[in-house]
Amino acid sequence: MTTPMLPDTFADLEPFAARWCIETEAARYTERLNSTMADMQEFYDAAFPRVPDAMAHLDGFPLHDLPERELNLLHLVYSLVMVSLPVDVWHQPRVIDAGTAYFERHLEPHP
């Protein structure tokens, strides 16, 4: 048994943690473009219903002093946000009609 990445109450999301606990938006976007819709749908189906629980759990900690497993959970929620548009809106990894456009997020808050 490997060391869990997520808080114990989110053990059900542990199978997605290694892939989707991603710190930066740029890396999350890359992971999305490199994913199949089936992969993202599976992650979405598991994580989407847990978002309110995750928000409530994380709000019990100071945002700028999150323990490591809570920080991982926050990054996992960010990834859920990232895949929600391909799943709910575009039905493909890329934005429809985005052509070759790429916006680099070069500055963002931590966490």
Binding site: V51, M55, L66, S84, D88, V89, F103
Partner: protein, 437 residues
């Protein structure tokens, strides 16, 4: 023959003197020759926003800004007395660029007491004075005080730092901004310190992208997916309820889709993530409970049309700076920096009050992600627009009343270029005050 349309006098377009309602040319967006004129007439003469005071948090803080359009780079710094200065990023000795990041083309920032040239070690104070010359005794009839960094006119307005590259600006920054833009004065911009900043290399003339974000006529079509499938329509369109022009600047104000702000839409009209997290493209559903953001405490100039409900005011500040204020208590900025007649570097920043907990941070993330995806559609389409224009199959194009801002921008740029060619002065100078629409 049946001709359709609205009477000019009853239109937004008709209210702007000199704008006309005829077909327009986009030669100004495909011609290398026009681009050269525009560099001189517009970008070396207008006030340009290069950042905010929060980027200079301490005495000695500095950042550089590449201004390819003017073939220069500027250093913006805060001196030991707290004053903000701007200098050309050029060492007075052999012309080397003074500060850079990874390569001489990369911007940089930091904190220091003196700027030292990488080449021969000449050092300059934060006020631009030359402080140290290596082996000064080897020079001839030399006086250090004669070789300060070359100063760039720099003024701060509401925390936004502007530079002007002309020898002597024809207008002060407040005069240049004029009453409509200055209606933003008093908005608590300083509270919005949580920033998400993006950069993109765009395959179009800068004005073509600017046009895409200054009209909402395209929104129900190019961004049809902003509505859930049941609400999408390619036949009904969207009407902006309020436009205003003031000198070379423009304002577009809206009250939400069909007058319903997104956060008040029923759940079936929203995407699941928006409802789940209580945030979407227009921001978090809840405005932060910060007294300065209470609508009662905001300056009336942010919604000069008095829209109710009011969602967005999109201030298009000539030539290339945009501030978009959202009713839910956050704002967006865009800058369009030309790099050639058919390319530019685009910058976008989301500014929120600092998140106080993870939920607020997650809501900001949703807004920054959803909104960015709409922008990607605009940016992706531009490539095609530029190609269509450059084909020169057509040289005269119609614009409707909902595109009054597009007409106005191209006219303002044309006016500045014509004025420059006529008498070397930018538009607005000849009669001693700004030309107001």
């Amino acid at each position: 023959m049946v001709r359709s349309g609205k009477p000019s006098e009853a239109s937004w377009t008709g209210r702007v003197p000199g704008l006309g309602t005829g077909l327009v040319s986009y030669e100004d967006s495909i011609s290398p020759e026009f681009y050269e004129l525009e560099r001189e007439a517009v970008f070396k003469r207008a006030w340009l926003n290069v950042g905010r005071v929060e980027q200079l948090p301490r005495k000695g803080s500095f950042f550089t800004k590449e201004l390819t359009v003017a073939a220069t780079s500027v250093i913006v710094t805060r001196d030991l007395d707290g004053r903000v200065h701007a200098f050309h990023n050029v060492c007075r000795h052999r012309g080397n660029k003074l500060l850079w990041g990874e390569t001489p083309r990369d911007e940089t920032s930091g904190v220091c007491r003196q700027f030292m040239c990488k080449y021969h070690g000449w050092r300059y104070g934060l006020d631009g004075e030359l402080k140290f010359v290596l082996q000064e005794e080897e020079y001839f009839d030399f006086d250090k005080s004669e070789f300060p960094l070359v100063r760039v006119h720099c003024e701060v307005w509401e925390g936004f730092i502007f530079v002007n590259l002309s020898r002597e600006p024809s207008q002060s920054l407040p005069d240049f901004l004029g009453p409509m833009v200055r209606g933003l004065e008093g908005y608590p911009f300083h509270l919005f310190t949580e920033r998400y900043a993006f950069k993109a290399d765009i395959l179009s003339n800068w004005k073509i992208f600017l046009d895409a974000f200054q009209e909402y006529y395209h929104a129900p079509i190019l961004h049809s997916q902003q509505q859930v499938p049941a609400l999408r329509s390619f036949d009904t369109g969207f009407k902006v309820p309020y436009f205003q022009m003031d000198g070379p600047h423009r304002l577009v104000s809206t009250g939400g889709w069909k007058g319903v702000p997104r956060h008040m839409s029923p759940p079936e009209n929203l995407y699941p993530i928006e409802h789940q997290v209580q945030a979407g493209m227009m921001g978090p559903w809840e405005r932060p409970d910060i007294p300065e953001l209470d609508p009662a405490n905001l300056p009336p100039g942010i919604n000069p049309g008095g829209l109710d409900p009011w969602s967005i005011s999109n201030f298009q500040i000539f030539p290339n700076f945009v501030i978009l204020l959202y009713e839910r208590g956050w704002y967006l900025t865009y800058q369009y920096w030309p790099t050639s007649h058919n390319t530019h570097t685009w910058e976008m920043s989301y500014w929120f009050p600092p998140s106080r907990n993870a939920s607020e941070r997650i809501r900001h993330e949703v807004t920054a992600v959803v909104s960015k995806e709409a922008g990607l559609q605009d940016a992706g389409t531009l490539d095609g627009t530029q190609m269509g224009l450059e084909s020169r199959v057509i040289d005269q194009w119609p614009l409707c009343d909902q595109e009054v801002t597009v007409r106005h921008l191209h006219k303002a740029v044309g006016d500045w270029v014509q004025s420059h060619l006529r008498d070397g002065q930018p538009e607005g100078r000849r009669d001693g005050e700004a030309v107001r629409a």
